[in-house]
């Protein structure tokens, strides 16, 4: 086998040195009745070329050749060859968690830079080294708020990503946390009156997403005030992080839970992505996950280490702030390199292009009789439209034109079956947007 660096003679030599007669002897502590006598029933071994051929075949059974208007938490953005070149350096790819700081300075400094970039983006004071994704980051942010306030109720906007809310409910079920959902207004944003009415002194956090699942940008300052008045924390989830290049950062939030997939990570059928938790300095000791910190070595030179580990499971065991161990380090590195490439100007331009493309797409769609914008709040690169018939049916017709239509809202929001969430990024050419609008128009002209 090409991955194994031993000849049969070397194996014999090593067995002899150990004093074992056969390899079987090395497994003698496994009761014999439980030792497999037959080889595993797995597909026959493949050469490299066969492995590639297998996956190319699978790839051809997917959506290659289609244009997509899906966003809803996973976005298609440009990615630079430079990012992937760095990611494929073995020194990053094949290294472990940087517990041995002297020979892990590369990873540690990169994490420190990641934490800095995340603070700058979110307007927060501290950010961790990463969480699994936006959904678990949001959940862990709520658990953090629960620890900080010692309260057991959480108010979550229905305009938070449905899957994020589902993950929160899974985690909350057994920790005595009560999750209550708050509706949205005609603007597509959180119902502030609903919040005011539900905010009591037992609420640990108010959770909103901005831009929210409908694409609408939330007004955070009054929400933060309301939450703070009753002693609750404001948790803001961000699923489309590119928006932060042009939309005011959630600096009013006490905890920001972000998905960083938009920064250099492929959609990859849903993962691996990179979650982030950013917060205020005073809350750092209740943060989950790893943190890199700056320090000095014996000779006074600057270096970096994993720090404040007394929050973590390998030290604190059942008293840890979270059970997270392995995180999404390489994905965080991708985001770090990607954002460094974009830089201040690049990120702003990227965000502006997304904004312009989405506005263009909305205009094109609004020109179609019967199609209208659902919500009035400002949006970034995603917006909700109402169609004169079921969005599912429209999408089925679009598929014939090699178009993967927008996200159908009806499944998660039964009141919105005729509504769809359209996402357009810098990767969608104008000609495609026009073709999409024409296809929607054509479909709606057909009798039901």
């Amino acid at each position: 086998m090409r991955y194994l660096p031993k000849s049969p003679a070397e194996r014999e030599e090593m067995l002899a040195a150990i004093g074992a007669k056969s390899v079987e002897e090395l497994f003698s502590t496994i009761p014999e009745a439980y030792r497999l006598q037959e080889p595993l029933n797995l597909p026959p071994a493949m050469s490299e070329a066969e492995v590639i051929a297998y996956f190319q075949q699978r790839a051809s059974e997917n959506s290659v050749g289609y244009t997509s208007y899906l966003g809803a938490g996973v976005y298609n953005h440009l990615r630079s060859v430079v990012t992937d070149t760095i990611l494929q350096r073995g020194e990053f790819l094949t290294s472990y968690t940087p517990y041995q700081a002297e020979i892990s300075q590369g990873t540690l400094q990169a994490i420190f830079e990641f934490q800095t970039l995340m603070c700058q983006l979110t307007g927060q004071e501290v950010a961790n080294a990463s969480m699994y994704d936006g959904s678990t980051a949001t959940t862990e942010a709520v658990l953090m708020a629960e620890r900080l306030t010692n309260r057991r109720r959480v108010l979550v906007a229905r305009s938070v990503h449905p899957e994020y809310r589902d993950v929160l409910k899974t985690y909350a079920k057994n920790s005595g946390l009560r999750v209550e959902e708050i509706g949205y207004t005609a603007a597509g944003t959180l119902d502030a009156k609903g919040i005011e009415a539900s905010l009591k002194d037992d609420v640990c956090a108010v959770v909103v997403q901005s831009p929210n699942f409908f694409g609408a940008i939330e007004t955070l300052a009054p929400l933060a005030d309301a939450a703070h008045r009753s002693g609750a924390l404001l948790v803001v989830a961000v699923t489309e992080a590119v928006s932060l290049g042009i939309v005011k950062p959630p600096s009013e939030a006490d905890i920001v839970a972000m998905e960083g997939q938009s920064f250099g990570l492929a959609p990859s059928y849903g993962g691996p992505f990179v979650g982030v938790i950013a917060s205020r300095e005073k809350f750092v000791r209740q943060m989950p996950g790893r943190l890199a910190g700056q320090t000095t070595d014996l000779e006074g030179r600057r270096g970096f280490v994993l720090t404040l580990a007394t929050r973590e499971q390998h030290i604190r065991r059942e008293k840890a702030t979270s059970n997270i161990c392995t995180n999404q380090a390489l994905c965080a590195l991708a985001a770090t390199v990607h954002l460094t490439l974009l830089g201040k100007e690049g990120l702003r331009e990227l965000a502006e292009q997304n904004l312009s493309k989405a506005q263009f797409a909305l205009k094109e769609l609004e020109n179609i009789p019967g199609v209208r914008r659902t919500f009035s709040a400002p949006f970034f690169n995603e917006f909700t439209v109402e169609l004169p018939r079921s969005a599912k049916m429209v999408n089925a017709a679009l598929l014939k034109e090699k178009i993967v239509g927008p996200f159908v809202l009806g499944t998660a929001y039964p009141e919105l079956t005729k509504h769809a969430l359209v996402c357009v990024t810098e990767t969608t050419p104008r000609s495609e947007i026009e073709r999409f609008a024409a296809a929607v128009k054509h479909t709606l002209e057909q009798p039901l």
Partner: protein, 503 residues
């Protein structure tokens, strides 16, 4: 003129600053294609109150500077690609490059989790084949590929157990965890709403059966057992342990972190395990990447199937595959979308390359661990002498007499060109040296490692100071961790702000 620290110096001591310190307004490393739609005025589109001027402090550098910056940083890392990485419990094996290649294919990396399932049959077939392979390897009935890492796999497993007990009337109160367990086990049990009860190991490093019997009551939901244990010892009485638990209606959870010792040799499902997780970033070679991403599939017996997290992969008539989210008794979602799909792709590529020959990897891993054990026995104290599986745990008891501890030896190992082993774990071995070579090391590399460890043991006798002040050949020396925690600096700030903060 630039300041002293920016002076040109040989590479190994190169002072590569933070990227923010290289920034200069107007430089850029990324160009977008021209905008092909009318440009929108953000002030109007968003409204003045929502609009941001730009991200304060973001770096402004050129492409060559970005590439060079991160390439330089990378050279300060140790990596499997450079040599042996014998971290116990971490299974740092070769990460085949073809796995990286296939995970990046158009049609694999480009797929959106919400695209229609008729356009995702390729992705779903990958998931299905991986499920089949993992079930064959573990001897279990059903598997979920949703969890993002081992710890999330543990949580998923315990939530399944909780749902199972709940259905039988009562979720029960306690989870039993041996004192040799990974820290994630107790941390996870608490999130799943359980109290943790520690179970002692006996003098041989196995579960103390009398102690176990005493604690398995009708209040116990499960025992979380790592097998082989973190001592690298196979838990021989596992079928009996399962019986004791089952007699009280409790379940056996196996932490599969050490599956690299068992693959192709024995199957947890046959041993009486009810539910277990696998760390694909350990046993199945997906790269650690400096700390992730991983994947933590959870395999289980049929009786836990109703509670699977959603979505669940199902095969419809005609062989069409689909993801089903409508399952009444499901524990819910543990992560958005479809698991860490890109990691799952790499793991399948690894399994396909081996086929049934994957047993040879297990055999070589165990052979290497025992070879190293033989080479170091006597020189280093071996507190538990039962036969080793894929890893061996020594202690620093002999070297301690000269004031040299496991951390010192680990740091000195760096000078010899190796990554250290795992230090100070498991907790039941004071001053532990936990060594896991994996199958990826040649005899030559194992010999070099043994030589280095022998040489360090000698130094500990003759020149302990040399060991205690190691490493000597790295870019930086030992770092002040206490200072880092006492006054945390967790982000870069511009110079003037930093000095202000210091006032």
């Amino acid at each position: 003129m630039s300041n002293h620290s920016n002076r040109a110096v040989p590479h190994i001591v190169l002072n590569e600053g933070l990227i923010f310190e290289k920034s200069s307004p107007g430089k850029r490393a990324f160009d977008l294609p021209p905008l092909d739609v009318p440009e929108v005025d953000a002030r109007k589109a968003l409204g003045e109150s929502y609009r941001r001027e730009g991200v304060e402090g973001f770096p402004e550098v050129s492409e060559i500077e970005v590439l060079r910056h991160f390439t330089r940083l990378s050279t300060w890392n140790y990596a499997i690609d450079l040599g042996m990485y014998p971290l116990g419990s971490c299974t740092m094996k070769y990460n085949p490059r073809v796995n990286e290649y296939v995970a990046r294919l158009a049609g694999i990396a480009t797929e959106h989790p919400y695209q229609p399932q008729e356009l995702s049959q390729g992705c779903l077939k990958v998931l299905q084949l991986l499920e089949k392979c993992l079930l064959e390897i573990t001897g279990m009935d059903v598997v979920t590929l949703q969890p993002a890492a081992g710890a999330q796999g543990e949580l998923t497993g315990l939530l399944l157990i909780r749902a199972y007990h709940q259905k039988h009337g009562n979720p029960r109160k306690r989870v039993l965890i041996p004192d040799s367990a990974h820290g994630t086990n107790p941390a996870t049990a608490v999130i799943a709403g359980y109290e943790v009860q520690n179970i002692k190991s006996d003098a041989a490093g196995q579960i103390d059966m009398a102690h176990l019997r005493e604690h398995v009551t009708s209040d116990v939901a499960a025992l979380m057992l790592t097998n082989p244990s973190t001592l690298g010892i196979f838990e021989q009485q596992i079928p009996q342990i399962a019986e004791i638990l089952h007699a009280q209606g409790a379940l056996l959870y196996m932490d599969g972190a050490n599956m690299n010792a068992l693959t192709g040799v024995t199957r947890p499902g046959d041993l009486g395990v009810d539910v277990m997780h696998l760390n694909l970033h350990k046993t199945f070679s997906t790269p650690h990447g400096g700390g992730g991403p991983g994947a933590g599939p959870v395999a289980m017996k049929k009786n836990l199937e109703p509670f699977l997290p959603v979505p669940v992969l199902v095969e419809k008539e005609g062989g069409r595959l689909a993801l089903d989210s409508h399952r009444k008794e499901s524990i819910g979602k543990v992560k958005a979308f479809n698991g860490n799909f890109g990691v799952l792709v790499r793991a399948l590529a690894y399994i396909l390359a081996y086929g049934p020959g994957i047993r040879q990897a297990t055999e070589d891993a165990v052979l290497n661990a025992n070879y190293i054990r033989k080479g170091l026995e006597g020189t280093y104290d071996l507190p538990y002498t039962r036969p080793s599986m894929h890893e061996v745990v020594f202690s620093d008891a002999i070297q301690k007499k000269n004031g040299v501890n496991t951390m010192d030896i680990a740091k000195r190992l760096i000078d010899y060109g190796f990554h250290p082993y795992t230090t100070a774990f498991p907790l039941i071995v004071p001053g532990a040296l936990m060594i896991e070579p994996t199958e990826s090391e040649s005899k030559e590399e194992c010999d070099l490692f043994i030589d280095a460890m022998q040489a360090i043991a000698e130094e500990a006798k003759t020149n302990p100071e040399l060991v205690k002040t190691a490493p000597h050949n790295t870019r930086i020396r030992r770092l002040d961790e206490v200072g880092a925690a006492r006054k945390p600096v967790l982000r870069w700030k511009p110079a003037e702000k930093q000095s202000k903060a210091a006032d």
